[in-house]
């Protein structure tokens, strides 16, 4: 960031066409936008392309930013839309067919007595990031939007074009799947050591 220049000033100047200010905004927000794109796609090359596209869209639309929300929130939403548009073009299933949160017949089953150690304290963030990358795309998107980025289910439903129940159901399944992935990763490490 240019010394002495606040984010608000950078936004105003970027709206007026100042290139340095736009670059400053890029520097401020690139990491978060890129991390979002990377977590949602699980692919470095795609994440780079989508980050580029998000900032190009920011440039085109910055004049419409009115300040009703925080700039980072506004930019974040823009980046999410860029990623989702890209995923829709690829035809990836964002969420499965409508499912409610009602009790499912094929819910998870556990054998009594087959107790594993809990995950708490045994998983570091790198492992968690890796496990998120390995989630199926539909689960990954919902999990990243809700648990990582903090979107509410009603917001996710609006963004994704699904029902709130569907969003909740997918989130639960994503967490269950992550649990399995993390346990498998931990077991594999234990075998190797």
């Amino acid at each position: 960031m240019v010394p002495g220049l606040s984010e608000a000033e950078a936004i105003d100047r970027a709206k007026a066409g100042d290139a340095e200010s736009f670059e400053a905004l890029y520097g401020l927000h690139k990491r978060r936008v890129y991390s979002l794109c990377l977590r949602m796609t699980g692919n470095t090359a795609e994440a780079e392309d989508l980050t580029q596209e998000a900032f190009l869209q920011l440039y085109r639309k910055i004049a419409t930013f009115r300040g009703e929300s925080a700039f980072s929130t506004w930019l974040h939403r823009l980046a999410v839309n860029v990623v989702l548009m890209h995923l829709r073009k690829k035809g990836l299933p964002e969420v499965s067919l409508e499912e409610s949160l009602e009790p499912q017949e094929d819910g998870p089953k556990r054998d009594i007595g087959a107790r594993d150690n809990v995950l708490a304290g045994s998983i570091d963030r790198v492992n968690l990031e890796r496990a998120i990358e390995n989630l199926p795309p539909g689960y990954r998107i919902i999990f990243v939007l809700h648990d990582v980025e903090g979107y509410e289910h009603n917001e996710i439903a609006e963004i994704m074009g699904c029902s709130i129940g569907n969003s909740k159901s997918q989130l639960h399944k994503a967490r269950m799947k992550l649990r399995d992935l993390l346990k498998a990763s931990r077991a594999e490490k234990a075998t190797r050591s």
């Binding site: 066409g17 100042d18 290139a19 890129y34 910055i62 159901s169 649990r179």
Partner: protein, 229 residues
């Protein structure tokens, strides 16, 4: 709707309603079943841990510097940013503010027309300086130092005439085809330019003009290859 724990339930039953309990904001830990079932207690602990850890995931990685280079390049190519005289960053004022129309014909045409001029320059440079007699495309040439400045009316009839002259000297059999196609592509450029001038916000017209210039660049490039002695 399940009442959430007052009645003793099996593991399977509990795990079926667990998503609902979590979603309704109920305190999962207070569920009676968990007091007697370590398996489900562990499951709940794990799911809670995962959700909590996810909140702590801070953005860790910066994108490759080529991402910014790509952004800068796109803005420069579209004429919204002047090419930087310095190595780092985008400097100076943008040609057009995002709040105003970015598609004024003069500013927008410059980078596209420059592309055609580069090709014309290559064509002229090759024909003036290449002493090699072999028909080989492994030659590397650098842009001519004698490129003329673009004007908003187009590439100039002089360049087209020179191109046809070179073709006449080296491959006269190809001149008629090039002449005819040159007329067509100039007509393409003229039509597209008129459309852009009529409606500067018409993105299709802008794209048509871009494609027209690219067609001309292809024509010049192919002619350049043919005209190498």
């Amino acid at each position: 709707m399940p009442s959430g724990g007052k009645v003793s339930m099996t593991c399977a039953e509990f795990q079926k309603v667990l998503p609902y309990i979590i979603d309704s904001g109920g305190n999962v830990g207070e569920q009676e079943h968990l007091k007697t079932c370590p398996i489900c207690a562990d499951l709940v602990a794990d799911l809670t841990y995962i959700a909590d850890q996810a909140k702590l995931l801070v953005p860790m990685m910066d994108p490759n510097p080529r991402v910014w280079n790509g952004i800068k390049h796109s803005l420069e190519e579209s004429g919204q940013v002047k090419r930087s005289a310095t190595k780092s960053g985008v400097r100076g004022r943008l040609l057009e503010s995002p709040t105003r129309s970015r598609w004024g014909p003069a500013a927008w045409l410059l980078p596209v027309a420059a592309l055609v001029l580069v090709v014309i320059g290559l064509f002229l440079y090759r024909n003036r300086t290449n002493p090699d007699n072999s028909y080989s495309a492994d030659q590397r040439v650098s842009p001519s130092a004698t490129m003329t400045l673009v004007n908003s009316d187009g590439m100039g009839e002089t360049q087209d005439e020179q191109l046809l002259l070179q073709l006449s000297e080296h491959v006269p059999s190809l001149r008629p085809a090039y002449e005819q196609n040159l007329r067509s592509v100039n007509s393409y450029i003229a039509d597209a330019r008129r459309s852009v001038q009529t409606d500067p916000d018409d993105e299709d017209a802008q794209e048509a003009l871009m494609q027209a210039y690219q067609q001309k660049a292809v024509l010049y490039d192919m002619a350049a290859q043919e005209s190498v002695p």
